[in-house]
Symmetry: C3
Subunit: 117 residues, 3 copies
């Protein structure tokens, strides 16, 4: 069942928090652990992403892609204020940010990234 | 027009059902061929994914990522019941699941995966 | 801060227009620069994608994946008419197309692709 060329981190029944293969870390869509506002929830999501990237042997300066879902696209400026401060200067990923309802109504933001290891 | 390092499966005018390159199979968003309920439609989608993965020379134990769209996010538990039974134990992909309207109103679920070959 | 194995094109504070790594070009979600109708906006998006692919050292015949967001999924036929004429015959990417609200209400379509370099 296991494969030597694929490493899975934070394995749950429905998803792995991250999968590493061929020099790339593929992270699951990360949802907020704490926070009421979009800014607070974005901080929570990005902290978890930092942790997963570290576990995968990489960091936010090596992001390749990011897909961001906001439950209300009008919160994009509030998201971007936190996001832009978090991205390492000169190294933002290729990104898309669109509106979508998420699994739980209290979640306002979800972010899924890939990074070079 | 063709390239020796890229293999395309199920080529239609607007998409390939799968594209294989550099040891990774990239599948198109797969939509239900049969089924009325979310559970039935998820079975249909996952059967098609199994077929495409086999055609690409891999299988569901080597999934890297999955993006799932539900037309009603409240159907997530019903999706997960089928999904969790399908995933090989210990080998779930990095996954995101959000709500979105799909191309035809009778489609309730769409799933797009990548896998190591 | 820079990495020799990652090339970023069109770097802005929140995203890079494209990131090239490991023989793959990852493009950001591209939004319309001009156009009122979905057809016009799709032309605008695809022209920008052609430019970014060229900058990354590749072209539309080497697309691997495409994710398309329409603000109204009923515009899918109008999108496809432009899309199908743009894709090089026999070489469409693995694609998903779903409905989502985008950052600005005047934007009706956004497309995010990857391509082999």
């Amino acid at each position: 069942m296991s494969a030597h060329d694929i490493t899975r981190l934070g394995v749950k029944p429905h998803l792995s928090n991250a999968v590493v293969h061929g020099g790339i870390a593929y992270l699951a869509g990360v949802t907020p652990a704490t926070g009421i506002t979009v800014a607070e929830q974005t901080v929570s999501v990005l902290e978890q992403i930092d942790g997963l990237l570290a576990e995968a042997g990489t960091d936010r300066s090596r992001l390749l892609t990011a897909e961001i879902w906001l439950t209300d696209i009008r919160n994009r400026d509030e998201l971007n204020a936190v996001w832009n401060a978090w991205v390492t200067p000169g190294n933002p990923p290729a990104r898309a940010c669109v509106e979508a309802k998420l699994a739980f109504p209290e979640w306002l933001v979800e972010i899924m990234v890939t990074a070079a290891v």
